[in-house]
Amino acid sequence: MNIKRMMMATAVAVSVATPALAELVIPSLVYRTGAYGPNGIPYADGYADYFALLNERDGGIGGEMVNLIECETAYNTEKGVECFEATKDLGSLVYQPLSTGITYQLIPKATAADIPILSMGYGRTSAANGKVFSHIFNFPGNYWSAASAVINHILDQENGDIKGKKIALVYHNSAYGKEPIRTLEELAKKHGFDLSLLPVDHPGQEQKSQWLQLRREKPDYITMWGWGVMNQVAIQEAANIRFPMEKFIGVWWSGSENDVIPAGMKADGYKALAMHNTGMDYPLYDDLKKYLYDTGKASGEHAGTVLYSRGMYAGMLAAEGIKTAQKMTGKSNITAGDLRDGFEALEMTEEKMASIGMPNFGPSFKVSCESHGGPMVTAIQQWDAKNKTWSLITPFSPGDMDVINRLIAEDSAAYAAENNLSERCG
C-alpha cells in the first residue's frame, strides 16, 4: 500500500501549492543543478532579478505583481514535462525553458494549452515561421542565422573569399548541436569551403579524440555549438593545440565567462556570437543595485556576466510583451492568449530600451504574425582575458537571409505536413 500512501501525500502536497490568483504568473524553468547548472544559474538569476526589480520598483507590470514560479528541470526533458504540467494551469503566461530539448517537447503542448513559448536564440529554428508555429517565438536570433553569422564573419576576415578553406564545427551531439549543420552545409556549397563535423557527446568532458583530429586536419577556422562544461574543455583543448583563438568562434551559448576563464590567458581573443550586449554599464544596474543587491533581495553575484545579461534580456522581452498585451487589451490582468497576441505585436525600439535603462542592449526589431523570428541579427564579441571582459567587435548584422529563409520555409512546411497544420496569417 506504499503507492497509495505516496499518492495521497502527493495529492496533499499539490493541493497545498495552488497560489493566489489575479497576478501575472510566470513559470521559470531553470536548471541550477546537474551538468549544465553552472550555466543555468546566472541565466535563472538574471531572469528572476529582472522581475523582482519590476515588482520592487514599479509594483509589477501595469499594476499587476509578477509571481515567478521556479521549477528545476536539471536540463532533463522528463522533468521539463513535469514542470510544464505542474505550472500550466496556474495561469502561466510564457515559458522560456532554456533548453532546446525541452522546447521541442513543449511546442505542441504549449500550443494546445494556448501558452506562448519564447525560446530566445534556441529551440526549433523554423519556429520563426509564425504561419506554422502560432505560439512559438524565437526572436531576436536563431541557430541558422547564427551559423550564417559565423560564416559571414569568416568571409569578412578572408576578404570575401573562403573557397577551399577548411571550417570545422565542434558540436554538442544533441538536437541543439545538430541544428546549424544543415545551414552550414548549404553555405559550404554556396561559398565552396570544406566543412568537417565533430560531435561531442554529453556532457562534453571528453574531447581528446576530436581535438586530435582537429590537430591533424588543421582547419582554418573552428566554430562551436557547445553548452556547459563542453565549452570550457573545448577552449582549453584549443589552447593546448595552439589553435589561434581569434579563428575559434563559438555560438552565443559558447561565449560566457564560465567558458573562457578556466583557460586563463590562453583564451584571450576567443570569439563568440552575441545576440545582445553585456557588462554593467547600463542605468538599469543602478536600480538593480538599489532595490535588490543592496537590500539583500538578490545576491547580484553574477551581475554583468553574459548569461546573467541574457536572463535579464529574456525577462525584459517577456515583460515588454506583457506590456504590449496590456496596452492592446486594455486590462492589466492578461491571459496567456493575450500575451501571445502581444508578442506578435511586439516592437523593440532604441527609445524603448533606453527608457528601460538598457540603451543599445539588443537590436531593435518588430515581430509580426508571419515572422516570429525577429531580425535575426547577430554581433561578434571577443574575450579580453586580461581585463576579463567581453566586448562587441562588430555591429549587429543579418545573416544570409536567402539561405535561412529557404531552410525555414522547408522545415516548417515539413512540420506542418506531419501535423496537419494549415498556415495562419491570412
Binding site: 506504499n2 503507492i3 505516496m6 499518492m7 501525500a9 502527493t10 502536497a13 499539490v14 497545498v16 501549492a17 531553470v30 541550477r32 543543478t33 547548472g37 544559474i41 521556479e70 521549477c71 528545476e72 536539471a74 532533463n76 526533458t77 522528463e78 514535462v81 513535469e82 504540467e85 505542474a86 500550466k88 494551469d89 532546446t100 530539448g101 521541442y104 517537447q105 511546442i107 505542441p108 503542448k109 500550443t111 494546445a112 526549433r124 529554428t125 523554423s126 551531439n173 544533441s174 538536437a175 541543439y176 545538430k178 541544428e179 549543420i181 544543415r182 560531435p199 557527446d201 554529453h202 531552410l407 522545415d411 515539413a414 506531419e418 501535423n419 496537419n420
Partner: protein
C-alpha cells in the same frame, strides 16, 4: 486477522496455483484494478497523468521486462536504454510511414523489432556470463544510441535529429500529440501494463519461466536436467526486449511526444531500470511495479513537498532530493536486500498471524 486462510479451501489444482491464493489479496487486486480502470480516469488531470501515472505505468512495463531477463533468467543487462530507443524509433518510423495505422500496432511493432535486436545482442550470453555479459549489453547501449544519432534515416532527416510524435487517435480519442486527454493516455498505458503484466506473470510461472529460473539458479544443472540453455536465454532476451521496446515506444509516443536519443535513452535510463528492479525485488512482477513507483513517484513527491509545501529554493530541494533518494535506496537495501517485494511478503506473513504471532 486480515489475511485469513482458514475456511479458504482449495478443491482443485488451478485454485491452489492461482496468483493470489488468499481471498483478501484477490479482492484487493480486483478492487485496485477496478479503481484504476473505472474511477481514476474520471479524476485524473494533466499533472497527475503526465508527471506521475503515465511514467509509472510505462516504467512498470519496462521494469517487468528487465526483471524477466535479470530477475528470472539471471542475465544482467545494461542495454535497456538502447533497447527502449529501438522501440521508440521503430514506433516513429511506423507512425510516419503509415499514418493510418493504429498507434497500438506501432507500439507493438516497436516491441517486436526490439525483441529481434535483443535476441541478436543476447546471443553472446551463451558464452559470456555475469559481468562480462553486462559489458556486452553496455556495448549494445552505446552502439544503438550512436546509431540512432548517426543515421539520419531513423529520424527522417529532421534538422535537429529529434523525433516528434504526430497525433494519433484511437476510438476517436487522441492518444498521442498535444490534444491527447489525460484520461485517454492513462487508460491506454494502463491497458498495456495490465495485459503485459498478466502475460509476464503467466510466462514466469509456466514452463518457460521455470526454465529461465533453472538457468538463473545454475545453468549447468539446468542443462543436465534437460533445459536447453540456448532457447531459455534467447527467449528471455526476446521477451524482455519486447517489453522494454514497448515501453520505449510508449515513452516516445504517449509520454514525452518528442525524443532525443542521447538524452531520453542514454545510459542513465539503463541504470534507472536496474535500480527499479533491484529496489523493487528481483524475480517479482509486483516488485517491478513497486520499484517503478518508487523511482518515478519519489522524486516528484519530494519535490512537491519541499518546493511547494515548504517553499524551499528549487536548487536546494533538488540537491536534497538526491540525498534523500540515495539514502532511501541504501536504507531499503540494508533492511531488505531482496527488495520492496520481499518486504511486502514479510509484512503479509506477519499480518497472517496478527495479532497472535505464536
Amino acid at each position: 486477522m486480515l489475511y485469513r486462510e482458514s475456511g479458504d479451501f482449495k478443491v482443485s489444482y488451478p485454485a491452489d496455483q492461482q496468483t493470489f491464493p488468499i481471498r483478501f489479496d484477490r479482492l484487493a487486486f480486483w478492487i485496485t484494478l477496478a479503481v484504476a480502470f473505472f474511477v481514476v480516469p474520471f479524476f485524473i488531470n494533466d499533472y497527475w497523468a503526465n508527471a506521475v501515472l503515465i511514467p509509472f505505468l510505462i516504467y512498470g512495463v519496462a521494469a517487468i521486462g528487465l526483471n524477466i531477463l535479470t530477475g528470472y533468467c539471471g542475465q544482467v543487462s545494461l542495454g535497456s536504454g538502447g533497447f527502449m530507443a529501438v522501440g521508440a524509433y521503430t514506433c516513429y518510423k511506423m507512425m510516419t510511414a503509415f499514418p493510418d495505422l493504429n498507434l497500438a500496432f506501432c507500439i507493438l511493432a516497436g516491441g517486436v523489432t526490439t525483441a529481434i535486436v535483443g535476441i541478436m545482442f543476447g546471443l553472446p550470453s551463451l558464452r559470456i556470463k555475469g559481468f562480462y555479459l553486462a559489458v556486452v549489453t553496455l556495448a549494445a547501449q552505446f552502439f544503438l544510441v550512436w546509431m540512432f544519432n548517426k543515421v539520419p534515416w531513423f529520424y527522417n532527416y529532421s534538422a535537429s535529429g529529434m523525433i516528434t510524435s504526430p497525433e494519433r487517435t484511437m476510438f476517436g480519442h487522441a492518444i498521442s500529440g498535444a490534444n491527447a486527454t489525460p484520461a485517454a493516455t492513462y487508460l491506454f498505458c494502463l491497458t498495456f501494463l495490465v495485459l503485459l503484466g498478466f502475460l509476464g506473470r503467466n510466462l514466469t510461472r509456466g514452463s518457460v519461466g521455470r526454465k529461465w529460473m533453472a538457468i538463473r539458479d545454475m545453468d549447468i544443472a539446468a542443462e543436465i536436467i534437460g533445459v536447453n540453455p540456448l532457447m531459455a536465454k534467447i527467449t528471455a532476451f526476446g521477451v524482455s526486449s519486447f517489453y522494454v521496446g514497448v515501453a520505449g515506444a510508449m515513452i516516445f509516443s504517449v509520454y514525452l511526444g518528442a525524443v532525443e536519443v542521447t538524452e531520453a535513452f542514454g545510459i542513465q535510463k539503463s541504470f534507472l531500470l536496474l535500480f527499479m528492479i533491484i529496489i523493487g525485488g528481483l524475480g517479482s512482477i509486483f516488485g517491478s511495479l513497486v520499484g517503478a513507483a518508487f523511482m518515478v513517484m519519489m522524486p516528484v513527491l519530494l519535490k512537491n513537498i519541499m518546493v511547494n509545501s515548504f517553499g524551499w529554493a528549487t536548487d536546494i530541494a533538488a540537491h536534497f532530493e538526491f540525498i534523500i533518494i540515495g539514502g532511501l535506496i541504501v536504507f531499503f537495501l540494508i533492511v531488505e536486500p531482496h527488495g520492496l517485494a520481499q518486504l511486502w511478503r514479510i509484512i503479509k506473513e506477519k499480518m497472517r498471524l496478527w495479532p497472535f504471532p505464536h
